[in-house]
Point group: C2
Chain length 142, copies 2
Amino acid sequence: MRLALAAAANAAAGGEVPVGAALVRGGQVIAVAANAPRRLHDPTAHAEMLAIREAARVLGRDRLEDCDLWVTLEPCAMCAGAIALARIARLYWGAGDPKGGAVEHGPRFFTQPTCHHRPELYSGIGEGEAGELLKGFFQARR
Amino acid sequence: MRLALAAAANAAAGGEVPVGAALVRGGQVIAVAANAPRRLHDPTAHAEMLAIREAARVLGRDRLEDCDLWVTLEPCAMCAGAIALARIARLYWGAGDPKGGAVEHGPRFFTQPTCHHRPELYSGIGEGEAGELLKGFFQARR
């Protein structure tokens, strides 16, 4: 989560909403990514998506059933869907996201009958720091 | 939708679940894509995602509010989330997907309070052909 938080801080410095993610396999970090839709001109470029895509590329396969994802913010519907499609084993996240989250809020995607893989879920990891980064970012932009 | 259906047929020929998508802006086709998670080693490589990413790249921005997306199958949660994030104006799809769809099934994402953009929705366009492609693909693999 330290790597994910550092990536989030970097995103903020670049004018992107500060969210970071790290993908880990057997104790080894495979990918670290920061939220970058504006920089990359890509609405799908959330930190989780970039980390999953990079790890799948590195490992040369489209299923990551032996991998865990760490992310500083509760994933949205797009990212929760991608996490299920990638068969991620464990999902750890920091701050909850009542406005856009899809795990404990809104669609609660992993509880849906149309969700075909549910990772183990661990919330609130590094929540304070993750939340402060987001709060600072949005306050500075007002 | 003809272009999306042709892309879906191509996907099937390559061993991928046959789904295709086309992204259109003011009557001009900006991107056409086929489902390709296996070929690309990318669990996020659904036809809709690839079409959205390509269009955003071509147009050099992360919001596609003047664009319409045509896809042969009801989008899943990941793709529905991406469609909202990209601010797609109109969504046209072919076959419904009771097992994995997220528009008229499961999370019904566009009706959630955590969804911040709802495109105009048009279902059943080219439904017969889209469904036949999928049926034929899964029958051949049994």
